[in-house]
């Protein structure tokens, strides 16, 4: 499918010629605007892309590892994050080898070894190895690098910010050739669209969606930079957005954060067992800081077991199609739905802001995200208007008495 997309977008526009990407009249406006406060100062960029790229390129590596068969490429990109040769890259199949190799900016070819992998963030840290030295020993390389801790402290980029991506997309850059520079803007900072779990993708945090075609083979692990050359994200892999069926171009932000929820059994003060939600937070800055020291411990994600979910007491119309709309046929008397005032013929349209495309979506969402006692906000279509209803979910009726079918009236 990759061919359906243009292989690489043309590289960045050098800012030496500020007129190049602009129309006649917008240039005129800008020139006029600039001329006013700065009497005849020529309009030029304070941070031309070529200078930014030149500096950033020295802090990047090309990574070579496992792959090369089927559609798995054996090449990728990495970001140098310490003078000693720590490299941040994507947690891909590339790293499943003992023969990991990186090429530095100047063409040096060095071995590397994986130090830490965090599938929750989809990143890994590898360290460059120098002949005759152990992995824990300093390499003495003194490389140019991105100060990751400083990068993570900067405010996040906004929609519309101009960004540059440096990647070894399609393995075009060989040995000492600079990586491919692409220019784009941040389209949005948002979650990857697999909100309903259609994606089989581990990372669930925010991403920067960019409007350049950055996510091509070999690009994963590349750097997303501001137009001033500040590191803001790690270019992700090639994945398809399950909601719009389109390829995504995204980077994982340097300050990425993922909350892992787990339900654990605890005992309250009376010694009664109860379920409690435990949240573990995984962050990119922690991963990088500890991972570089070899001290990072992975958080094991609990297997998502679909629970019963909270009980609602809505009787939907017969669910015959995959996309049967969630029309209410009836509500069980005395159930949470009845108490909340749901009525026959209501169409359940949104639950806690998530669109309910079908009965199936509603049921799955409820099982995944709710427990008895939880309050959910339901938007129902009643006639030609939407009504918002709050419903406190209950305990599912005992197995012996399954949801009673509504009595014929």
């Amino acid at each position: 499918m990759t061919l359906l997309r243009p292989p690489v977008e043309a590289g960045g526009v050098t800012a030496h010629d500020p007129n190049a990407p602009m129309t006649r009249h917008s240039t005129w406006f800008l020139a006029a605007a600039l001329a006013a406060p700065f009497a005849a100062a020529p309009a030029r960029a304070a941070d031309p892309f070529n200078e930014v790229a030149e500096k950033a390129n020295q802090k990047m590596v090309k990574v070579f590892g496992a792959g090369g068969f089927s559609r798995l490429n054996s090449y990728g990109t990495g970001i140098i994050i310490s003078p000693d040769g720590h490299v941040l890259t994507a947690a891909s199949q590339l790293l499943d080898t003992s023969e990991l190799v990186v090429h530095l900016y100047d063409g040096q070819r060095l071995k590397a070894q994986v130090l830490a992998v965090e599938p929750e963030l989809d990143v890994a840290i590898i360290k460059i190895r120098v002949e005759g030295k152990k992995i824990e020993e300093p390499t003495g390389l003194n490389l140019d690098y991105f100060d990751f801790a400083a990068a993570a402290k900067r405010p996040p980029a906004e929609t519309g910010d101009w960004v540059l991506a440096l990647t070894n997309t399609f393995e075009i850059a060989l040995r000492d050739e600079p990586l491919s520079l692409q220019r784009g803007v941040v389209m949005a900072r948002t979650k990857l669209a697999g909100r309903r779990g259609v994606f089989e993708f581990p990372y669930t945090g925010d991403v920067y969606v960019v409007d350049a075609i950055t996510n091509n083979p070999g690009a994963a692990g590349g750097a997303l930079l501001t137009r001033k050359g500040e590191l803001i994200g790690v270019v992700g892999r090639e994945i398809k957005n399950s909601l719009s069926d389109t390829w995504m171009n995204y980077a994982i932000p340097v300050n990425a954060k993922v909350d892992i929820k787990e339900v654990v059994k605890t005992k309250d003060k009376d010694g009664k067992e109860k379920d409690e939600e435990k949240v573990t937070t995984v962050t990119m800055p922690d991963f990088v800081a500890l991972g570089m020291q070899g001290k990072y411990k992975n958080v094991t994600r609990p297997k998502t077991v679909l629970g019963e979910g909270g009980y609602h007491g809505i009787v939907f119309v017969p669910n015959i199609l995959d996309r049967t709309p969630a029309y209410v046929e009836d509500v069980v008397p005395g159930s949470p739905a009845a108490k909340a005032g749901l009525r026959p013929d209501d169409l359940v349209s949104f639950i806690d802001g998530e669109p309910v495309a079908s009965i199936n979506v509603f049921q799955t969402w409820l099982k995944k995200n709710t427990r008895p006692g939880q309050v959910v906000r339901i938007e129902v279509r009643r006639g030609e208007a939407l009504q918002t209803i709050e419903m406190t979910l209950g305990v599912p009726p005992k197995a012996a008495t399954p949801t009673p079918a509504p009595m014929p009236k």
Partner: protein, 722 residues
């Protein structure tokens, strides 16, 4: 300077502000532009709405769950974008967003609760849909003056899809205007990324005025999903907002808008260099009603010079049904002007003219030998017999008849004529070699099959003597046994191997040096597999039709061996090659796979002697739906679509003269989809496509039963009927 004063002020203010704040810093043109872009987005943002849908098909088309699994083509079901065009709650968006016919539509306007939306009407030529929500006082964006749009100016594509919160800034992709007046004068082209993420959203200029509404579009196809396959490809389109504003009042009346048609066909095939002389006038069309005649040369439309048919297409492209135009023509040495010619919709779709013969294929001699004469056809009435050779043809009124070079020339000549035309035909009789001139009145192509199509169908003289010699030997059965179409068990035989075939050939010098049998191929660039079946008696001196098989989601139909075994006799006797592409996903075909499939098909078309008049898309269930889709979207290649148990996913496109398309639609009477299948047939018939429809008795989701298969073969072998 065409931008308005206010927008100029805005930009100045933005830039000044950007520079004034860090007063000590050097002038940074990048920063100023970046800020101007964000300001432009912020100005339009209140009018950019999020659209969500519920119900409808998960896939475009039927989407009903039958025993065979999902039927239909998957489509993204995520939220989409719209643009407010009237403060009283009118929102315009791309029709693409409703291709799956959702039952419920919700619109979220920034800063307001969600609304239930209703579809008011659809503009079927620009693929825009007008929605109505119960709201007042909505922000409406300013339109950028259409005449002032410059190629190369910044353009920002905004959408509401990526971020679930409509109060955040809309998503933004930056590009420039690549061209104006694209897609027959209807669209602006941009290199900003456009995809289902922002279809329906605005394309915004740097001053915060809206250039247009983003839509998928293609200059080769029509329909709500046309052009989606090139999403994010650096070629995006937007309908100028000025044009959208102009059409909103018409859409508000609740009537769908169709493209306005004149109803003529060109005389030649050269749309670029030849003068626009009319070759055919559709009965009851706008042109016919106005009194325009065959042979008239078009000089001007609405005062614009028309040097060729391509220009005419551009001028008529943006017109709607009911629009009036003025045409100036030359008839003989006189000029004449028709004013107030009212264009019509699709009611007078093109209908192929039919003489009633099947031609002998691959014939090196001039003229066309008649292989079969349809009963009760004009040809039969005129006394044309099997074996006769058609040498000349022309309209009865013409002073002299034109020589007919070969089959393709005869097909092309008839494509330029309409049913009802009286033609004179010169035939050289088989018996006695006498030459007669007969007269026939052409009729619409009937929905009937020849009773028994005689063999051989080919003279075997395609391309002349340079071609490899045909074999004398009987073809050997590559499958061990031949089975009927209803045979269901796939015996576990060896996988087809390319290498073995090659080795085998070394010993046999008589065989043409082409690969035959069931061949496994890999699309090198994409790593996708497909199979090709070339009958063992392949002869490069004969031209072969191509059956492209689209498998169902059902595993059994993916097996190339079984499918080609079913078609073995057809391929050997009637000269067909089969191609079996494979869908990328487990859940069946998606429209965007068309391009990949066409790569496979075109590879095969380039390797063998191909009869372009008999290239068909054939499929079952979900594969059948894909066959419909591909047939309509690769009109330059396909001449027929044959389906089993499949439903038309989108509205059919119009029939066109030089890219005819025939259909063979079938389904089992026990298939839960049978109603929709019948409806699909009706839609095609409505558009005047020749359709053969077969409903199989006591059948659910099975493949053709033997009588239907026999009919299908007759249909396949009569696609080059004249």
């Amino acid at each position: 300077m065409r931008a308005t004063l206010s927008s100029r002020r805005l930009l100045l203010a933005v830039v000044a502000a950007a520079l004034a704040a860090p007063a000590a810093r050097a002038a940074d043109v990048n920063e100023a532009t970046e800020r101007a872009m964000k300001a432009a987005s912020a100005k339009v943002a209140p009018a950019v709405v999020k659209i969500e849908t519920a119900g409808g098909a998960e896939v475009v088309g039927a989407g009903k769950k039958g025993p065979g699994g999902e039927n239909g083509i998957r489509k993204g079901t995520g939220p989409t974008t719209g643009l407010v065009v009237d403060p009283d709650g009118f929102v315009v968006t791309s029709s693409f967003n409703f291709a799956n016919k959702p039952t419920d539509i919700f619109v979220t306007v920034p800063g307001k609760p969600r609304f239930v939306a209703k579809v008011v009407a659809t503009d079927q030529t620009r693929m825009l849909t007008l929605l109505k929500i119960d709201a007042k006082g909505l922000a409406v964006p300013e339109a950028f003056p259409k005449a002032g749009i410059d190629i190369g100016q910044w353009s920002l594509a905004l959408g509401r899809t990526s971020d679930p919160d409509a109060d955040h800034p809309p998503s933004m992709s930056v590009g420039i205007v690549s061209a104006t007046n694209r897609i027959w004068g209807k669209a602006i082209q941009t290199d900003a990324k456009t995809s289902p993420v922002n279809y329906g959203g605005p394309l915004v200029a740097l001053n915060g005025q809206v250039l247009g509404v983003i839509v998928p579009a293609s200059n080769r196809a029509e329909g709500e999903t046309a052009g989606v396959d090139v999403y994010d490809g650096g070629i995006g389109f937007a309908i100028p907002l000025e044009d959208v504003f102009a059409v909103v009042p018409r859409l508000k009346q609740g009537k769908d808008l169709k493209r306005g048609l004149l109803g003529i066909n060109p005389q030649g095939t050269d749309a670029y260099n030849a003068p626009p002389v009319i070759g055919a006038v559709q009965p009851d069309s706008a042109a016919a009603r106005a009194g325009i005649q065959v042979g008239d040369k078009i000089l001007e439309v609405d005062g614009k010079k028309i040097p060729n048919f391509s220009t005419l297409q551009h001028v008529l492209g943006p017109k709607y049904e009911g629009d009036e135009i003025a045409i100036k023509i030359a008839r003989g040495d006189k000029e004449q002007e028709f004013k107030g010619v009212k264009l019509v919709g699709t009611s007078t779709a093109y209908v192929s003219a039919f003489l009633g013969v099947l031609p002998m294929r691959d014939d090196a001699e001039p003229g066309v030998e008649v292989r079969y004469v349809y009963p009760k056809s004009p040809a039969e009435a005129a006394g044309i017999k099997v074996g006769d050779r058609i040498t000349k043809l022309g309209p009865a009124a013409a002073p002299a008849l034109s020589p007919v070079a070969n089959r393709n020339a005869l097909i092309a000549a008839l494509q330029r004529m309409t049913p009802g035309t009286e033609v004179k035909i010169e035939v050289k009789r088989k018996d006695g070699g006498k030459t007669d001139t007969v007269t026939a009145k052409l009729v619409p192509a009937p929905d009937a099959l020849p009773d028994a199509v005689p063999l051989p169908s080919s003279k075997g003289k395609a391309g002349g003597a340079a071609q490899p010699k045909p074999k004398d030997k009987e073809p050997k059965d590559p499958f061990g046994r031949a089975d009927g179409p209803t045979d269901g068990d796939a015996s576990a035989e060896d996988e087809p191997k390319k290498d073995e075939k090659k080795e085998e050939k070394k010993d046999d010098k008589d065989k043409p040096k082409v690969e035959t049998g069931l061949l496994k191929r890999t699309n090198e660039a994409l790593g996708r597999e497909y199979w090709v079946y070339v009958p063992d008696n392949y002869d490069a001196g004969k031209s072969y039709g191509v059956i492209v098989w689209f498998h169902d989601t059902n595993e059994a139909t993916k097996d190339g061996k079984q499918v080609s075994r079913t078609f073995r006799d057809v391929c050997e006797d009637r000269n067909f090659i089969m191609v079996g592409p494979k869908s990328g996903g487990k859940d069946g075909w998606v429209p965007s796979e068309t391009e990949v499939v066409m790569q496979d098909v075109k590879t095969v078309l380039g390797q063998y002697t191909i009869d372009r008049t008999r290239v068909v898309a054939h499929g079952q269930g979900n594969g059948g739906q894909m066959a419909f889709y591909v047939g309509f979207n690769a009109r330059d290649v396909f001449r027929g679509v044959g389906t089993v148990g499949a439903v038309l996913g989108t509205n059919p496109k119009d029939n066109v003269a030089n890219q005819p398309l025939s259909f063979f639609v079938s389904g089992g009477d026990k298939d839960p989809l049978i109603k929709d299948i019948r409806e699909s047939k009706d839609l095609l018939t409505e558009r005047r496509f020749p359709v053969i429809y077969r409903e199989m008795k006591e059948s659910g989701k099975e493949y053709f039963d033997p009588p239907t298969f026999t009919d299908f073969i007759a249909w396949l072998d009569s696609l080059d009927r004249i």
